[in-house]
Point group: C2
Chain length 99, copies 2
């Protein structure tokens, strides 16, 4: 899990579709599916169920596991952003300025 | 930066060589160099100096920036491992058991 996969889960939850979630992140359908498959393979239970959801049944929803993974990952991110704010700011200051 | 790049920096610091550091991580010379080049390109100053170090002058050393990046990244990791221990354990419990 990393920030990209977490964002993909959050967007699938919003959009109810893997392709729409990927598109919103500038990602190909193939890439979005491949990331979902990696996550589904890594966890003991799938994080995304692509057989349900959507009016035409072509959508995707987060499973209970997917919701839990996303929530816990977000809590870790918040911990870094609050308690680790000084370290993150110092690291960011060492990066090449964005053009 | 992620755990893999941080470990590579730590091992370059120990080994005084990019190829030896990569080898210790089961990584090809090409892959190790490519990760170093990515980091050197991302930061305003290089993190690894490959023109110095080593008895034959073929080695590599961390720059002051490289040391600072590694130290700050390690502090963020320690924050996650201590304050985030419960979340990390819960996420790990959701993963497929290693075979």
């Amino acid at each position: 899990m990393g920030p990209g996969k977490a964002e993909l889960l959050a967007r699938i939850d919003e959009a109810g579709s893997i392709s729409a979630a990927g598109r919103a992140m500038g990602m190909s359908y193939k890439r979005a599916w491949s990331l979902v498959e990696e996550m589904n393979a890594a966890f003991a239970r799938p994080v995304v169920d692509s057989s349900r959801g959507g009016r035409q049944g072509g959508g995707a929803v987060l499973t209970a596991t997917g919701r839990e993974v996303l929530a816990r990952f977000r809590r870790l991110e918040r911990l870094l952003e609050t308690e680790g704010a000084d370290e993150i700011a110092a690291l960011a200051a060492l990066l090449k300025p964005a053009r």
